[in-house]
């Protein structure tokens, strides 16, 4: 208990329980088979619940799992049974909102697959080796979103920081020439 809260894994599954993206931070599931078995168990246990408005929670194999669904996407965050479920819930909410921001509100499986790089970056910005790195969706989206700048997009659609980054890049490029 004296250790900081730890997240054991983050899962993003589709409406059939297939893995879209998953990141494991604990050795509890050493092989891919074990991981898939866990994902299957989690999916079938939560499948019938309605987790579209509020973050829902369940317990499985001495783990606490918080989850939320949108369209055909199922988000899960798993922690040990001694974990504070509200900490896990804040991680999940951060992930969920950040993905929503990054996909500009079109959160479904197809968008997620089309922007899988953003999802991976999102995971990377939320948790580092099981330790909560950031839970504020805006910050996460901003950090992960560097990639999503389309240099040709009108400036009005970019956030200030994105615009700054673009400007900086243009400047460096012009300087290097």
């Amino acid at each position: 208990m004296e250790l900081p809260p730890k997240v054991k894994n983050i899962l993003l599954l589709d409406s059939e329980g297939k893995r879209i993206a998953a990141k494991y931070y604990s050795g509890d599931w050493p092989t891919n088979t074990a991981k898939e078995a866990f994902e299957k168990a989690v999916f079938s246990k939560t499948q019938k619940t309605n987790a579209r408005t509020e973050v829902e929670v369940t317990a499985l194999e001495n783990n606490i799992i918080v989850y939320k669904f949108v369209q055909d996407l199922h988000f899960f965050v798993t922690g040990g049974e001694e974990e504070n479920e509200l900490v896990l819930a804040s991680v999940l909410q951060g992930l969920f909102d950040a993905v929503n921001l990054l996909l500009r509100g079109n959160v479904d499986k197809r968008e997620a697959l089309d922007n899988l790089d953003l999802i991976f970056l999102c995971f990377d910005e939320i948790i580092d080796g099981g330790i909560v790195l950031e839970t504020d969706a805006n910050v996460i989206a901003e950090k992960a979103g560097i990639n999503s700048i389309d240099p040709n997009a009108p400036l009005s659609e970019q956030t200030i920081s994105q615009a700054l980054a673009t400007a900086r890049e243009h400047l460096t490029r012009s300087l290097m020439k």
Partner: protein, 902 residues
């Protein structure tokens, strides 16, 4: 990155799901990865390829060493590109590839450059990547930059360095420990996350220095922590400090309680929860301390957020142990046993959660209620659960059924409504594990509560009418055969059993035939009718069923003489007297010849006492799942064994058999252990001997016992073991007479005498001539505990109060210095040989006082209850106050005498 990686085919089937990664293949992607080596890097294309690689890795695809190395080397080329998006992906893939230490060297310089870049994102990520892949020597090189990064004005960089520090602490603690000044600065950061990471790291660095942690907590609890996450950490550290302090003998007002209590009013829910949980888990929490925590949890119970409701029930469920511990302590102080008001209120809120949408919450609520509910609420609760059961999964149901079983044991008077409930759910749909849990529970209730027997058996009968599980059917039939004939109207079960013979598979039919036979044998009036039924079974299509029917018909058709009756009874109800493993070896060794196989030649002693059995002692078997005790070592087995030996048959009823005491060291030539059998007037020592030398055969094995230090005992007979071949254990017995009903004690020294014959290992034949020899065994003691049976009572308080208070004997004893309270308690329990009740043999860690409740039956069948209160002072001197109540005053005195002499 809106562009799909694969263009959608025009004739693409709409029903097929579209994915940019459809048909993706490792080989092709690895080919594509060659673009990394292009002189002119195309950032967009490279990012796409990296995403594909990450996708493959994420789907569980693994790269060979060569493939990974190749990808890694080409990825490092991408550092030339200035594209930030691509760089971010490069960082990610390097972490995923986890390069080996000799490869790392390629990227370190690039990463170190990025660590000092002006771009915050580069600095933060370069730190995270570098710390993930480097080893100790490299770490010393970059240590300076890391320390700088910790105090970086950008919180993202600072957090990256701190989190990396947390990971590095595991591999290179001595280096990270040098950063504590910078980390300390981070704790004061205005950024919430930096504060959280810094606090975590600072605590990890100092965790072994109790004083430093206590100081840290002391300064931070005065306020200055802003981040809720950091506040949660601080609460955890505070509870740890509280635990340590009470460990080290500081008493008085609980330090830091006020801080925990103030956190209950924090604006972040996660902090409130953390604090409430910390308070409910405090050692020896008082009602006053508990109340505010319970109040906020109660609010959570009715929150619209499922996570809050779940968290609150879970905390109450776990914390209840602490709460009930608290009430128990009150009981010791002779104060009323009422629950704190606040907890009772919670129960009402919790009842409404039974209908919660989230079934995990509902199940937790029910098990909590079942755990803490009182007798009066059972019926209401059962009604609510009935509605709930129909729509939850089996795994939840099993949890509920288990909780109900323990509830029934706790409140035997309520068996009727609980049994009704169980029989109802038994009729509903469900998987094997679930049904087995129900059947086990019903069997437990039938065993524990005699009144419940007839009804319970009928429920089971109805169940097997329509049971798809062969295992459960046969188990129930077996159970019916034992319990059914003893009921007031055995005939009513026959129909159910005979139906099985018609409708089931061969295994169940065979079990039904055996059960019928048991009824026929036990109930004289049913015998003719059973015989008719069995005759019909002779034409069954299955061998086993026919064989059994024929066999039982001949048993039932016996001449009715006493002798034959006894044999049949033995046959029908007795378990096999020999361990199955021994039976198997003997049968394998049996050489088909003129001579018939003799079951008496099978050794009866279990070769090695199974560990599990020792553990299970004193525990009641629960339900059908628990196998009957091994025949030759369980009490019943001993009883049968002893009564079969004519010399001991006249000793009367066996009172107690001790567990085996080893008389030889492990791995000696001859392994001997002894079981002490206590009778009213006699004591029998059963020496279990094993010959561990393959080249020897021992004959006329006897134990010579010198009882000069046991004055009250006099040897009356002994029974030698004729032959003791290699590795097949046998028993020798020695019997003593002792004054009736007196718990005589004494010490016995033992010598094993025997004749050794050499065995030729190749032929296995022994020589004709033997040599007499003897072997010194260790001494054996008969102690007072041998005269007390461990018998548990279900409700100690009731039992205690039902005994005459005036006969109570109280005295105080000093037990001297001990390691811990637990050790002293164990010593007393072992000395008295009584059954600890209500889990009081376990002492909460760090407790300074404890009450242990013991119950037992003293020789002569006198019930004894003991309440022992222990206290420990600062020098670990332990004092005990022992209160004894017994049905016979002299026994209470005897117990005190045992303690006084022990």
């Amino acid at each position: 990155m809106a562009q799909p990686f694969v263009k959608k085919d025009d004739d693409h089937d709409d029903e097929m799901e579209y994915s940019p990664f459809m048909g993706i293949e490792k080989g092709a992607v690895l080919q594509e990865a060659r673009v990394f080596n292009d002189a002119q890097v195309d950032p967009r294309r490279c990012s796409q390829v990296i995403t594909k690689l990450l996708y493959l890795l994420n789907q569980g695809e693994s790269f060979t060493k060569v493939e990974a190395t190749e990808v890694f080397f080409s990825v490092t080329k991408l550092f030339q590109s200035k594209d930030t998006g691509l760089r971010r992906m490069v960082y990610l893939i390097i972490k995923e590839l986890s390069p080996s230490s000799d490869e790392v060297i390629i990227v370190t310089s690039s990463l170190m450059k990025d660590m000092n870049s002006k771009i915050d994102m580069y600095r933060a990520n370069a730190i995270r990547v570098l710390c993930r892949i480097i080893d100790g020597t490299l770490l010393t090189q970059i240590e300076r930059y890391l320390k700088q990064a910790i105090v970086d004005k950008n919180p993202v960089v600072s957090s990256a360095a701190l989190v990396s520090g947390l990971h590095l602490l595991r591999t290179n603690p001595e280096i990270v420990k040098r950063w504590s000044n910078e980390v300390q600065e981070g704790v004061q950061s205005r950024s919430a996350l930096v504060q959280f990471h810094a606090l975590a790291l600072l605590h990890q660095i100092r965790q072994n220095d109790r004083l430093a942690v206590s100081k840290l907590v002391g300064s931070l609890t005065r306020g200055s922590v802003r981040s809720p996450l950091a506040q949660c950490l601080l609460i955890r550290y505070t509870s740890q400090v509280i635990r340590d302090m009470s460990n080290h003998g500081q008493s008085g007002e609980r330090p830091f309680y006020e801080f925990l209590e103030s956190c209950l009013r924090h604006k972040a829910e996660m902090v409130i929860l953390e604090a409430a949980r910390a308070i409910t888990e405090l050692d020896g929490v008082t009602s006053r301390e508990l109340t505010p925590a319970i109040t906020v949890l109660q609010l959570f119970l009715s929150s619209p957020k499922p996570v809050l409701r779940f968290a609150a029930v879970r905390t109450l469920n776990k914390g209840k142990e602490n709460v009930s511990l608290y009430t128990k302590r009150k009981f010791d102080a002779q104060v009323s046993m009422t629950h704190p008001m606040a907890v009772t209120n919670c129960n009402i809120d919790m009842e409404s959660l039974i209908s919660d949408q989230n079934r995990s919450i509902a199940t937790l609520a029910i098990t909590t209620l079942l755990k803490t509910g009182n007798e009066s609420s059972v019926e209401r609760l059962m009604k609510q659960i009935t509605n709930f059961m129909s729509d939850i999964a089996d795994e939840f149901k099993i949890v509920v059924v288990d909780a109900i079983r323990s509830l029934c044991v706790k409140f035997p008077l309520k068996y009727r409504s609980l049994m009704t409930f169980l029989s109802n759910i038994l009729r509903e749909e469900g998987g094997f594990e679930y049904k087995r849990a129900i059947v086990d529970s019903i069997v437990t209730i039938i065993r524990d509560i005699p009144d419940a027997k007839e009804g319970g058996l009928l429920h089971l009968c109805e169940f097997i009418e329509d049971c798809e599980f062969t295992y459960l059917s046969t188990q129930i039939l077996h159970f019916l055969g034992i319990e059914g004939p003893k009921t007031s109207d055995p005939s009513k079960y026959i129909r159910y059993i005979y139906n099985r013979v018609h409708l089931e598979n061969a295994t169940v039919r065979a079990a039904a035939v055996s059960t019928l036979a048991k009824f026929g044998f036990m109930v004289e009036s049913l015998k003719p009718r059973i015989t008719v039924l069995l005759k019909r079974c002779i034409y069954d299509s299955d061998d086993e069923v026919r064989d059994r029917a024929t066999l039982f018909l001949s048993v039932l058709g016996g001449d009715g003489t006493l002798d034959a009756d006894k044999d049949s009874k033995e046959f029908l109800f007795g378990s096999l007297e020999v361990p199955l493993a021994n039976m198997e070896t003997s049968l394998k060794n049996y050489d088909p010849s003129e001579e018939a196989f003799d079951i008496n030649s099978v050794p009866k002693e279990v070769k090695s006492q199974p560990l599990a059995e020792k553990k299970a002692q004193g525990k009641k078997p629960t339900g059908l799942g628990a196998p009957p005790a091994a025949p030759a070592s369980g009490f019943e087995g001993y009883e049968r064994l002893l009564s079969s030996i004519p010399e001991f048959a006249s000793f009367g009823k066996l009172f107690k058999s001790s567990s085996p005491v080893e008389l030889t060291e492990a791995e000696t030539e001859y392994a001997v252990n002894v079981v002490k059998h206590i009778f009213d007037n006699h004591v029998v020592f059963q020496y279990n001997c094993t010959n561990t030398i393959p080249e020897q055969l021992l004959e006329r094995v006897n134990v010579i016992v010198d009882a000069s230090e046991a004055e009250e005992f006099s040897e009356i007979t002994s029974k030698a073991l004729n032959s003791l071949p290699y590795d097949s254990p046998g028993q020798a017995f020695v019997a003593f007479e002792k004054p009736a009903g007196v718990p005589a004690v004494g010490k016995f020294s033992n010598t094993l005498t025997f004749v050794v014959k050499e065995v030729d290992p190749s032929t296995g034949e022994a020589e004709d001539d033997g040599v007499e020899d003897e072997y010194q065994l260790e001494d054996l003691e008969v102690v007072s505990a041998d005269y007390i049976l461990k018998v548990s009572v279900s409700n100690f308080r009731n039992a205690w109060e039902s005994m005459n208070e005036e006969d109570e004997h109280v005295d105080e004893y000093g037990l001297g210095q001990r390691e811990s309270l637990g050790e002293a308690i164990k010593a007393v329990i072992d000395l008295l040989g009584m059954q600890p009740c209500e889990g009081t043999e376990t002492v909460p860690s760090n407790a300074r006082s404890h009450t242990c409740l013991l119950s037992g039956v003293y020789i002569g069948n006198v019930k004894v209850l003991v309440r022992a209160q222990f206290g420990m002072d600062s020098s670990k001197e332990i004092a005990m106050k022992l209160a004894v109540r017994a049905e016979d005053v002299s026994v209470a005195e005897a117990i005190h005498e045992i303690v006084a002499n022990g």
